[in-house]
Symmetry: C7
Subunit: 99 residues, 7 copies
């Protein structure tokens, strides 16, 4: 049975989307053209960090299924079975990408 | 279909405006005259950082379409399709420029 | 009589689960395949850190019996009789693993 | 048309007043006599930093037109057209000078 | 007359319990077996650190007479007459040990 | 017309009192005897720092005319006309001296 | 007329009590036996630091006349006339000693 990971506090579990290294015509893009910025899909989110006043959790700012723009550095690589996923803090994610 | 990036938390997406390197008469300005300060147009803004006391977002201090004065350093370059944009924290932006 | 350790503040007592170093067929997994990420079972939790504003304890985010994903570093090794356990801060734990 | 810069958050835009390098009799003051402390006139002020509780801005402590005592270091030089101005944080300004 | 020390703020006065260096049968335990973790008995506790909101003290999380698990480092050694005691911050104590 | 300096935020303007380097009998005190601690008279005080929670100013703890004990280091020297004064943060001042 | 020093904020003025370097019988104690911990008598206390919320002072935790256990390091030596006293922050004092 596959394992599920539920992030804690303000962590967000993301599956990195491989950046297109070939143009539609199949020509290999030069290394520099491949943006160091990578995108990822939100797999699961934590309940959020605690509000210092009320003790209530402050919800993270992304939801499952969204495509997010990832920073060049940071994140903790996590292996669930054969899958390689990455845990980010909500604070590290740069933005949500909409087509 | 073009991609849209919605910044998270207190981030602001800016398109840098190329500083005038030539005077109106077309004469090339010396390098030093070109101010290291650059200006940019606000493309999109995040909802703002969460107030840790009340949990409410604290709105960023600029709005879409405004021209802003950018700091000499900082910002994260982001490529959306062919466009090169820059993500700043609200805190980094120096001022709003009005003609 | 066996000793019991009740963690203080936001500490969590965890018993590390030995990662499977052999496939089901018994073949020794190469060192790299063994994920540096390790899992552990929550043995006991502290009452939580005090909210400096209200004085109320902020409950930790895991409960006894849960399986948690542990960070690569951190934790304080503690010997209770013959058992070797590890104390983490709630903040350090990455996520809860559900089958 | 001249450009106007409205500082953001708790920033204050200042035009530095040239310190008197000559005595009234026109004799050149020795370098050391010229106080490293410089004065400046407040051109524009930001709305202020946000109050962590209410989210309301906390007004800066100087107003347009006041003469202020500037610190020896700090400030960001900004060119508006031909004018060279300096952006300070409210926190950096030492005092208000009254004749 | 023996002197009494009442810790201030969130400090806790502890008397270290000598770890059993011999097994019940009297055989000298090898150095490594003797856990670097040591235990101690709580002699006295301070009133606690002040709550920033209300000014009220936030009680420390241990009480007189409890056996506590001490960190490997930290603590300030204090001599009261012939007795050698150690002052810890509440924050440093790892847990309470119950038989 | 003499200039007046009104300190900003929690700053305090002080005129240093020259420490007595001679005993009443006029004998020159050895360098070491002259305490590095110096005293000063409060010339003017700022309105106080803003309480980031309520936005209210937190008044400084000294008033004009008081004699204060100054720390060995710190302070910003300011020249007002021919007078050399020193700006301290309220936090830096050690105590009020009463005869 | 003797000078009086009233400490500011959360400072406490202490007169160090010379540790007994001789046993009652007058035999000189070896250097090591003389505890590096020293004791002192509280001469005067400041009003306390301001509570960030209410602006009210948070009273220091010791009172005039109490004997306190001093840390090995820290404190600012102050000379009042011929007397050598030491200023501590309330936070630095370890405990109150009662006979």
């Amino acid at each position: 049975m596959a394992k599920r990971l539920i992030p804690l506090l303000d962590r967000v579990l993301v599956e990195k989307l491989q950046p297109a290294t070939k143009t539609l015509g199949g020509i290999l893009l030069p290394e520099t053209a491949v943006s160091k910025m990578s995108e990822g899909k939100v797999i699961a989110t934590g309940p959020g960090r605690r509000n210092l006043q009320t003790g209530e959790p402050i919800p993270v700012s992304v939801t499952e299924g969204q495509t997010v723009l990832l920073p060049e550095y940071g994140g903790t690589v996590v292996k669930l079975g054969e899958k390689e996923l990455t845990l980010y803090r909500d604070e590290e994610l740069l933005g949500v990408i909409q087509d």
